[in-house]
Symmetry: C2
Subunit: 356 residues, 2 copies
């Protein structure tokens, strides 16, 4: 294993320290570890996310005006602890409540749920919103855990960030978050595994002539091991999973702050169809050159055009990664004029920055 | 070789086509291939760059308001042809002259020089500016070709873009470009080679316990093959090359449009010293995760602090790459208030975007 790191035990600390030095306008807290905006408006709901490290720029790269107020990086591929999340929320909360964006992984869900209960006990209004957009995973009665969270996370965080900045209430924001989650789909493809620093060797083996569709962002194995094919054929396989698998509903566990209890909320996605407008993300997994991502975007744009789906905005780059994994993921989120306006609203983070 | 490409012969065309689809506000010309801003102000000098493909986002990712007016991508690691550059310049020229930014590689230099002569023959004022900032290469009397061009390119393009936008004349811009080039240094490090699609195998072999310092952006071998070390030690080696090797002068061949001939221009760099202010870039070579680049930035920032050098602005990410190479390069450019103001001026490109 050759990586630009020192001691694997110090990797996350040192990477976050580097992030802090490169972004001196943000506050980086050490014990427990979290990143916050320095100046948060008093009349806005606080937005917090977090998850394992190794997915950079997620989530610290999205802290700033018009997006997140706080981010909690765990160890590599490990959920942040409840106290990280709790302390972060306490710092960014300005009296209007806190919204958590939680990618649907067991560890993340548990930590955020514990933080929700701690905050509720102190009388702080808080709601967790789950992101579960990985359509490569089957959803059936055996699926207790549900689908994983992927690139829709970025769109939720951006759109909600703009809405919070405009002063929308916690209840309005929760509705809006559901709307985005119910219109977002992702699917990933690995050309190679990633190598976790502590382990020092690839998480799984993938032959020189093999790729894997449906991989998770922690190097989880996918559903389909198949022969390496030209990019256009691979993109077609990925896009088909989004085009064809988009009609479903599921229940997610969410905190209802009015009744002070966990409730099951039904979320329904309805497939993309002709005439729909989307934000499309072609995302590199960490070790993928930008030039290849544009080859992927080219085919995706062609396929959308054939389907009569308009890509209104796009991101092409590495936005939610798996350490050094080579491969890509595709995310599509259906939008309308009001969501688009929120997407276009000014944002100023380490990674997404426009309008200011 | 597993890459997200189709036919290696179509790779650049398809990648550029994807870039065009993802950036519909830019004009992408096909035969010959170049990218231009759609609306260029009438009173500004036109700025054009180009070079081999495989270094994305360089240069197309820097076309837009406040940076380049046109970019000419060659084949992978191959210079653009003179007609690409000539046609591009003709499209973006608005009567105030054209400035070429040329990374110092033989092929690029030749193509741009030919384009200079073609444009001059038509009475279009044009000057080429050479970027030769790779301090890992020895400069001595045997060095006919000079040093390679690396990350200072991005700083030159950004600062000159802002100055052109403000209406500075071609002569003023040439002086300003010299000023930036004379204050910029880069050095690169490879953990792995890159794989050119046509070849299908790594350009060079690097053992599992070896790294190479002083690599070029085309997978050229470096000057120093050494044992893999922790990131901090590697960063120290890189930074020392910049701190210790910054005092030198050389002559570059530049078009003098007033006399209508090639002249030798002397450019002098004076080493960074205590009290200096810089823009620092920690750049990934294409296959390097962002998390590792922050580990590199952390050490670089510490070393600069020890030297009394203030990093006023930074970029951490993949800005000038070598396909899928793992590794990084460091660039430092000494700035003052006026250069900083130009760096901070609004820019709107696919990659750098702020203030608008």
């Amino acid at each position: 294993m050759k990586k630009l790191i020192n001691d694997p035990n110090q990797f996350v600390d040192e990477s976050v320290e580097g992030f802090a030095l490169a972004n001196p306008h943000l506050d980086v807290h050490e014990t427990p570890r979290f990143i916050t905006r320095r100046e948060i408006e008093n009349n806005k709901v606080a937005l917090v996310s977090g998850g394992g490290s190794g997915h950079e720029p997620l989530h610290a790269g999205y802290v700033g005006h018009g997006m997140l107020d706080g981010a909690c990086p765990g160890e590599v591929f490990s959920a942040p602890t409840p106290d990280q999340i709790y302390e972060c929320a306490k710092v960014v909360h300005k009296g209007e409540g806190v919204l958590f964006f939680v990618k649907n992984y067991t560890g993340d869900v548990l930590s955020f749920e514990t933080a929700v209960e701690l905050l509720h006990a102190e009388g702080i209004p808080v709601v967790n919103v789950l992101i579960d957009d990985d359509v490569s995973q089957e959803l059936n009665s055996h699926s207790v855990v549900g689908r994983r969270g992927m690139g829709t996370t970025i769109v939720v965080e951006k759109i909600l960030g703009a809405a919070a900045q405009k002063g929308q209430s916690l209840d309005q924001l929760v509705d809006l978050a559901h709307r985005v989650v119910c219109n977002g789909w992702s699917v990933g493809l690995a050309l190679t595994s990633c190598t976790v620093p502590h382990k020092g060797s690839p998480t799984f083996d993938l032959g020189d002539d093999q790729v894997e569709i449906g991989i998770g962002i922690h190097g989880e194995r996918g559903q389909t091991d198949l022969a390496y094919k030209p990019a256009d054929e691979l993109v077609e396989l990925l896009a088909d999973k989004i085009f064809n698998g988009g009609d479903y509903s599921r229940h997610v566990r969410e905190w209802n702050r009015n009744v002070g209890a966990w409730v099951e909320v039904e979320l329904k996605n309805k497939s993309l169809k002709q005439g729909d407008r989307v934000i499309a993300i072609v995302n590199g997994m960490g070790g993928t050159p930008l030039s290849e991502l544009y080859v992927v975007y080219r085919k995706l744009a062609q396929l959308c055009a054939e389907k009569g789906i308009t890509i209104e905005r796009n991101l092409v780059g590495s936005f939610i990664t798996s350490l050094d994994m080579q491969g890509c993921s595709i995310t599509m989120v259906r939008i309308n004029d009001s969501l688009l306006e929120l997407w276009d609203a000014p944002v100023s983070t380490a990674v997404l920055r426009w309008g200011m």
